[in-house]
Amino acid sequence: MTDAAAPRLGFARPSRKLLIGSVAVVCFFIAWQAVFLFIPYNSLFITKPSLMFAALWRLTLSGQLFFDLGASAAPFFYGLIAAVVVGVPLGIVMGWRVRVGQALDPLMTALYASPLVALAPLVVIFLGVGIGGKAFIVFLLTVFDFVFNAYAGVRSVDPLLLNVVRSFGGGEKDLYAKVIFPSVIPYIVAGGRIGVGRALIGVLIGEFFAASEGVGYGIVRFGNFFALDSMFAYILVVTVIAVVLTQGIRWAERAGFPWRIGQ
């Protein structure tokens, strides 16, 4: 926003920000490592970055990390896909048919506001601790992100554009292809960005409750063994995945839908 006033700074500013940010992260790890020169180190309580990265390396080499990642990734994707398949059409219908929207809106809002996480114990008892249970928790937590975003996307369709297409003789098919989909898809992607974070929560909850594999299970197990270096390594992995997913989608939004940046 401010960049427009000073195009000369437009390039310098983001790179300066990136530089300061990277320096801050590096300093953070150095300070974390260095602080144990001054205070006693208790391996049952915290770990050092050096040990954490060593553990990460060890777990990567042994294949344990990839095994757990794979076990967590399957329910993550199944749940998300199910949420898109159910949520997007529902949201589009709610947006397109005004009365359907009015009838379902309060129900969906109430469900969205309720801590559906609370159903996790029931889901785990009912569907088991395997892929099914975890995927269903992911689905429950993310489906409303897609419903509400598709709903908002349809409602944001510019009636003027619809009329233009109609005036030039466009049929129902053209309306969908030329106006509705282009305006709904960015909303769905934005819903996906919010949903990805909640999906991660869903996978972790499923694995914390009861599981025999997966990243969440790994974190709990390492915690129980006081293997804090491995535990921190897994936490770091989850952090990196979360950042890459959300920032990746954000980047894709900017690259794919440049017309939305100003909105």
Binding site: G21, A103, T109, A113, P121, I125, N149, A190, I201, I235
Partner: protein, 286 residues
């Protein structure tokens, strides 16, 4: 930065007020969305209630099924016997202390990074990383550090709630009108005056939006931390009920959490609307 505002807009979308383009609408027309919404909920509840009469369930499945009427009875009993107050109080304490800490940390930090580009660049990687990461991964660690009980709950609640507050405050501060800031400066105001007279009033609606999102996250934090690492509270009650197949109590607890969350967020929504009424640019439809 626009995308963060997009997030806010999207998260607030569920409550966009209905179109007020027809001022001469009859009572029925104005009441229609409300009636339809009520009908929608009622129909779902009726279908749910009718399931056992239509479908014959296996004994195993029956263990997990409960009609809404049973849930209502359980909810009533919990309140009538007073059994709910002790766990609810424990949960409320964790919620209140955690949210208070989030406000005390989030607001000043948000103002600071909103006013200083360097501080913003310094904190941005951590805020992005910790905001994107589900705080659940830290739960085993927090339990290790703070033990079972109030404080690990408070930490989880505060950790989740601080980021919406921080990010929204930052966004609101950054969006302050340059012109107004320059005017106040021309009249000899220092940084403190600028913050007090222009920046914070401008950021107030953003801060309230942040607070609303923070409340939602705080409630989730209470549930999650009580599920995995606590000895008392409403969430603990629900997990224990689930393991004893007392499905009614699980749903009743969920309804209590949902009601509290909805009540608090709608109060804040009203406040947001009330407090942004003075804004000239909103009136002008900018």
């Amino acid at each position: 930065m626009t995308d963060q505002r997009l997030d806010l807009a999207l998260e607030g979308l569920a409550d966009t007020p209905a179109d007020e383009s027809a001022p001469a609408a009859s009572i029925w027309q104005r009441g229609e969305p409300f009636v339809l919404g009520l009908l929608g909920i009622l129909i779902v509840l009726l279908i749910w209630e009718a399931v056992p009469y239509v479908v014959t369930m296996k004994a195993g499945t029956k263990l997990f099924f409960t009609p809404p009427s049973q849930v209502a009875v359980t909810l009533w009993e919990l309140f009538a016997t007073g059994a709910i107050w002790a766990p609810l109080g424990v949960s409320a304490a964790g919620f209140a202390v955690g949210l208070a800490i989030a406000i005390v940390v989030g607001l000043p930090l948000g103002i600071l990074i909103g006013r200083s580009a360097t501080l913003n660049a310094l904190f941005d990687p951590f805020i992005t990383a910790f905001n994107a990461t589900p705080r659940l991964v830290f739960l085993p660690l927090v339990l290790l550090w703070f033990g079972l009980g109030l404080w690990s709950k408070v930490v989880i609640v505060a950790f989740g709630a601080v980021f919406p507050l921080l990010i929204n405050t930052h966004e609101g501060i950054r969006n302050a009108d340059r012109l107004l800031i320059n005017v106040v400066r021309s009249f000899g105001a220092g940084e403190w005056d600028v913050v007090r007279m222009v920046v914070v009033p401008n950021a107030l609606p953003y801060i309230l939006t942040g607070l609303r999102l923070a409340i939602g996250r705080a409630v989730l934090g209470v549930v999650v931390s009580e599920f995995f690492g606590s000895d008392q509270g409403l969430g603990v009650m629900m997990v224990q009920a689930a393991s004893q197949y007392k499905v009614n109590i699980v749903f009743a607890g969920m309804i209590v959490f949902m009601t509290l969350s909805l009540t608090m967020t709608s109060i804040l929504k009203l406040l947001e609307r009330r407090l942004s009424r003075w804004r000239p640019q909103r009136v002008a439809g900018e």
